[in-house]
């Protein structure tokens, strides 16, 4: 199912040895990444590993402080997200980048307003917003509601459908499914596959290996700001991936430790055991993804 592009084609996005400091805080260093068209790259890692920092560099929100960044073979130093957008790179940020006081439809089209002459085509924008959200399974009461009054998941859906609607070459999704219901998550996975099919490069960040493995073609694992592995799908199984994501060894240790205590700890150990089991760490069978 993975439509692997020949190595020789110029990747849409290539980061080489990129790093980023916030003042004296080193959030990221020496990370290398390639995204080609028709390919989904999953960025995985613990909390605070530097995933969002990485995609903010690609999205033009932050400038990298070391290394290089190329888009379609050409070295770039984006000083604003506008430039990234002009290169066809659309992003869903983890902290969403919505303007709470503005109506939903204005947020949806913000920066990409559709115009008829000088005026905005408000009717079209409102309908499109309503429709795109309905496609994600979000039935809004009123697209004129300030977006700040939507539920967390609803807001997330607005940000996702916006990026999908405007994404031209590269689509970046930072934990898009975090706040989503089961159905909406399914729709997002479908969107990712559709984007890949259309030849877009997709960067997908998630903590859920069940989401990452089926759709991903390559996997970048980060830990404490550094890369701890960069794999093609063919080089890694789902269970190995989940084990890496979870820091499996530590988890199992915790589980054993708890089991030796009694009461609630024992209960917790059971749960953890199941968790570990779910993650496929203790499974031998390497169930391949579809």
């Amino acid at each position: 199912m993975t439509a692997v592009v020949p190595e020789t084609a110029t990747p849409l996005v290539r980061l080489t040895d990129a790093g980023k400091n916030y003042g004296n805080i080193i959030a990221l260093r020496g990370v290398t990444l390639e995204v080609s068209g028709g390919e989904v790259t999953c960025v995985l890692g613990d909390n605070g590993a530097g995933k969002s920092t990485l995609i903010k560099i690609i999205a033009g929100l932050h400038e990298h402080t070391s290394g290089s960044y190329e888009v379609e073979g050409e070295a770039v130093h984006f000083s604003s997200p506008r430039e990234a957008l002009d290169h066809g790179i659309a992003t869903v940020y983890q902290d969403l980048a919505v303007v709470p006081l503005m109506p939903v439809w204005r947020n949806f089209f913000l920066g990409n307003e559709v115009r008829k002459g000088l005026r905005m085509d408000i009717g079209f924008m409102r309908e499109t917003t309503k429709k795109e959200l309905l496609d994600m399974g979000i039935d809004l009461r009123d697209v004129d509601q300030p977006i700040g009054t939507l539920s967390g998941g609803e807001r997330q859906c607005v940000a996702i459908s916006r990026a999908v609607y405007f994404g031209a070459k590269v689509l970046i999704l930072d934990e898009p499914t975090a706040a989503l219901g089961v159905k909406q998550s399914g729709v997002v996975l479908r969107y990712i596959l559709q984007a890949r099919e259309r030849g877009l490069g997709v960067i997908f960040i998630t903590h859920n290996p069940h989401h990452a493995y089926p759709v991903g073609d390559r996997f970048l694992l980060l830990k404490r700001g550094q890369s701890i592995g960069y794999y093609r799908k063919s080089e890694i199984s789902r269970d190995e991936l989940t084990a890496l994501m979870a820091g499996g060894a530590e988890l199992e240790e915790l589980s054993h430790e708890l089991e030796s205590a009694g009461g609630a700890s024992a209960d917790a150990a059971k749960i953890l055991g199941e968790e570990v089991h779910d993650l496929g760490i203790d499974r031998v069978s390497t169930k391949e993804a579809p």
Partner: protein
């Protein structure tokens, strides 16, 4: 208490009428608009003065009130847009005077047609706006501070340059110069409807409010103004050219400051170099009374116009009513506070009702 597994029938699929939305009367929907609270306040104050001040009832008085309101209200248009865009301009009041001084002295000293001075002043005013905006976006210093600096500097320049150029604290009378009559027609004439003389600034005010409202609600730029005021980082993240929008808004203030400067020049023929001080404050008050948030991202131009009207009406109404002038500011404060409280009360009602 605990039900069995068979699920209760789910709610019907979304239809024209959504079961998750309560019915809302058109009145309450109206009352929820940002400017309506201010409007209710304005009407109430109007009624108060209509009752207590017989001279206030004459059409001429309304014309005076509207004139005064327009002199605040025209600037309030630009100031409201700037505030919706999340910034302040404390130099707005003196910039009006600076523009007028500039036009007058420029034309006078070089003995040019006044229109040349008018044009030069426009360039100057836009430049002041640009510098304000540029400093704000490039340094990230709050606009309150930056424009405070330019406020002091312009204030000093107004006096010092006027004294250096003319030797006085006011400019020379320009009413005999070329171009005065035509410029006065544009900026400071009046016309009569029935028996009532109406100032042209009223028409300009209506025009600017209309343009401002249209810009804000119907154009892409308006969308951007709301966005940069509501959350500049988020706007930047989705590609809004935040810096350009903000600089543009400061230049908009410069433009209307120029306009008001020209009005002052051609209405009064000379310009006092100390004028305009403190007016920046009135513009902000008009905008805020009219529903603009100080923190940006919310407000309306029509609201600011109503705010200016409330302020102008209260100012003159107290005089028409012949109330003890010692108590002037007390009444002014009480009426303003009353209008604001009423405004917030109406909005809360509206929200509870809908």
């Amino acid at each position: 208490m605990s039900s069995t597994l068979e699920t209760r029938p789910g709610p019907p699929p979304p239809a024209a009428s959504d079961e998750r939305v309560a019915r809302q009367s058109p009145l309450s929907r109206l009352l929820a608009r940002p400017e309506v609270g201010a409007l209710v306040g304005a009407i109430l104050i109007y009624i108060v003065f209509f009752i207590v001040a017989p001279p206030f009832r004459q059409p001429e008085s309304l014309s005076s009130v509207l004139y005064v309101s327009s002199t605040f209200g025209i600037m309030a248009v630009a100031v409201a847009l700037l505030m919706i865009g999340g910034e302040f301009d404390l130099s707005a009041g003196v910039a009006v005077t600076s523009s007028a001084l500039f036009a007058s002295m420029f034309a006078y000293q070089f003995t040019l047609n006044l229109w040349v001075g008018v044009a030069a002043a426009l360039v100057f005013a836009l430049l002041v706006g640009f510098i304000n905006g540029y400093l704000v976006v490039k340094t990230g210093i709050p606009s309150f501070l930056v424009t405070l600096g330019t406020f002091f500097m312009l204030r000093g320049l107004n006096l010092a340059l006027t004294k250096a150029v003319t030797g006085n604290v006011a400019t020379n009378d320009v009413s005999n110069m070329d171009g005065f009559d035509s410029a006065q027609k544009v900026f400071a004439s009046s016309f009569t409807i029935g028996n009532v003389s109406i100032r042209i600034t009223l028409l300009w005010w209506i025009l600017f409010v209309a343009i401002g409202t249209w810009l804000l609600l119907r154009t892409r730029l308006g969308n951007w103004i709301f966005a940069v005021g509501g959350s500049a980082p988020s706007s930047r993240a989705v590609g809004v050219p935040v810096n350009k929008v903000k600089i543009g808004l400061f230049m908009g203030v410069g433009f209307l400051a120029w306009f008001m400067g020209m009005h002052n020049l051609f209405a009064f023929n000379t310009v006092q170099s100390g004028g305009g001080l403190g007016n920046e404050f009135i513009y902000i008050v008009a905008a805020v009374v009219g529903g603009c948030l100080l923190t940006g991202g919310y407000g309306s131009v029509i609201g600011a116009a109503i705010g200016a009207f409330i302020f102008g009406m209260t100012n003159l109404g107290i005089v028409y009513a012949g109330w003890d002038p010692d108590w002037f500011y007390f009444f002014l404060g009480a009426l303003l506070l009353g209008a604001i409280l009423l405004n917030s009360f109406v909005r809360k009602r509206a929200e509870a009702m809908r």
